[in-house]
Amino acid sequence: MSSPPHLDIGERRSEQGSGRSLRSVFVAVAVFYVSGALLNGSYLYEDAQQREFGPARTVWMKATRPLAEISEFLKLHVLRDQVEKLRKE
């Protein structure tokens, strides 16, 4: 076995200055989490209900219930519902 080249794409791109500023990445990550929580609200609540009974389950349900309600009110759960319907077909 001869030595393979060391593939460090990260180092190369770092030297090239690829990427976005920290501020920009923070905004993107924040938008991701908010959008993800709302688009997935109903399923997060469903997932919380499946957890083992106990304080953790209670906290998760309290935290995800408002997300589920907002998601259903704004019909944001439709995307995932449609994709799941497609998968079942």
Partner: protein, 482 residues
């Protein structure tokens, strides 16, 4: 805590925020990151935090001792202590029961077992030993550190805190990549505040990893791989053949997904670690396969076992064959305590030996196997040789592997599980290799040009689609068992 769960998403949101909020206060940052990594590990099983802590202390101070001493014997002695203790811990947790079974089999076969109750009670006790998740990975990382300090390739970490953080750093702690100290230690010991973060590549790797794991690997596992491997006698050749292909794609997608996501999370925290896969099933030789599959392990075995044994510069072809076999047999054993894993490793060692001798034979006769048709044929041959070896890797026993091979003889049996959706997902899984390396760099760069609100929203939409396409429930990653 598995990457594909809501729990991890919340954990990462907190750690990501703290990582950047505290980056300017280096010592506090290190303690917080170490605490987060220990929390991540303890979430699996808090009992093994002691093992992680002990490994950090043992390996760091051994390396410090090695670097400070000028006595060659003392240095070598410390190295041996580190190797024995590290491999000893893996041997205890991973191989005790296997070793015991072999001793019992040997004794029973030659009539040396007199007290069966003693053996049965002992086996019951050994079966209570729980394998700490990630032990094979972080132990090899620690060994690479001690070896590299011994060889003078690097200095030991300035503090135990630095080394502990390197060893426990959560993205790659439980299932790799096996990141060497020379690649990551200096980054976590002296964290900088970079001007930019490679958000395009990070997002691509994380989403790509989620797609490969949730949609492809879990689908193939549920639809065809698990049912056929569980009862091969109920299925015919078509189902069995595609179950074997399915497993090859499943294990690639499952394992590369974890590595990709680990790299992506590191990138978001401003660190870069080497890639672990580079389109392995596009290789046209077994040698090239091993330069593309689980690169961190194969390069570890190459640098710390194969080359010290003599490598391909052995005095004779017999010595080279010995070096290859030892390396691959131990590589197989690393994966699991079972003869099937050893057989898997031995098969690859044999493939490499035959490929080496075959190559020399062709070269001596000036026979060349080039051209586009030859290139395709070579890839088809390598793919099938690798798939054959996966039979032993996946099978719980030789009987299971042989059962799968026998079922390949029945081409008249009706097709039960194979469907166009399975074939489609298999093809998509095979093509997902094109996401490895920097083949999609243009996509990363295009994503980076978008407004951050668009980046965040689109990423959320793609995530929801991935979650919708995947089966319900959280399937663990295959390499957690190693």
């Amino acid at each position: 805590m598995i990457f594909t769960t809501v729990d991890f998403a919340l954990f990462f949101a907190l750690v990501f925020s703290l990582c950047w909020a505290l980056r300017g206060q280096v010592t506090l940052w290190k303690w917080v990151m170490l605490g987060a990594s220990w929390f991540f590990y303890g979430y699996w099983d808090w009992r093994f935090l002691g093992l992680l802590g002990a490994s950090s202390v043992l390996n760091h101070y051994t390396a410090v001792g090695i670097s400070r001493s000028e006595n060659a014997h003392f240095r070598r002695g410390l190295l041996i202590v580190a190797v024995v203790l590290n491999l000893g811990s893996i041997a205890f947790f991973k191989y005790s029961e296997f070793f015991f079974d072999q001793v019992f089999w040997f004794g029973n076969t030659f009539g040396m077992v007199s007290d069966y109750n003693f053996w049965l009670d002992s086996k019951d006790s050994l079966s209570l030993i729980v394998l700490p998740v990630g032990i094979s990975f972080f132990t090899f990382q620690a060994l690479s550190y001690v070896f590299d300090v011994y060889r003078g390739k690097m200095k030991p970490a300035d503090t135990l805190l630095d080394f502990s953080l390197y060893l426990a750093f959560f993205p790659q702690l439980v299932a790799g990549p096996i990141v060497r100290a020379i690649d990551l230690l200096s980054q976590v010991a002296r964290p900088t505040i970079p001007q930019t973060l490679d958000v395009g590549r990070a997002t691509f790797l994380i989403l790509g990893g989620l797609f490969k794991k949730i949609v492809i690997a879990n689908f193939l596992s549920e639809r065809i791989v698990d049912p056929v491997f569980a009862n091969p006698e109920f299925y015919g050749a078509w189902d069995s053949l595609f179950a074997i292909y399915g497993y090859a794609i499943q294990i690639y997608c499952d394992f590369s997904a974890y590595s990709d996501m680990a790299i992506g999370f590191c990138l978001l925290m401003g660190f870069h670690i080497p890639i672990n896969f580079d389109a392995p099933y596009l290789a046209d030789s077994i040698q090239k396969f091993w330069r593309r599959w689980h690169i961190s392990l194969s390069s570890f075995l190459r640098d710390y076992l194969y080359i010290p044994l003599g490598g391909s510069r052995g005095k004779s072809e017999g010595m080279v064959a010995r070096n290859l076999l030892i390396t691959f047999l131990l590589g197989g054993l690393w994966h699991g305590a079972g003869w099937t894993f050893i057989a898997w490793g031995g098969l690859h060692g044999s493939y490499l030996m035959i490929e080496r001798w075959g190559g020399k034979w062709l070269q001596a006769r000036d026979i060349q196997w080039d051209g586009p048709l030859a290139a395709i044929l070579r890839r088809v041959v390598v793919w099938h040789l690798v798939c054959l070896s996966w039979l032993f890797f996946r099978g719980q026993s030789f009987g299971e592997a042989m059962g799968m091979l026998r079922s390949l003889g029945d081409w008249q049996a009706p097709v039960e599980l194979l469907s166009w959706s399975v074939v489609f997902v298999l093809v998509v899984g095979y093509l997902s290799q094109l996401m490895d390396g920097d083949r999609c760099e243009k996509i990363w760069d295009r994503f980076e040009k978008w407004h951050p609100v668009k980046q965040g929203f689109l990423t959320a939409v793609i995530l929801i689609v991935i979650l919708g396409l995947g089966p319900k429930g959280v399937a663990p990653f295959i390499y957690f068992q190693f």
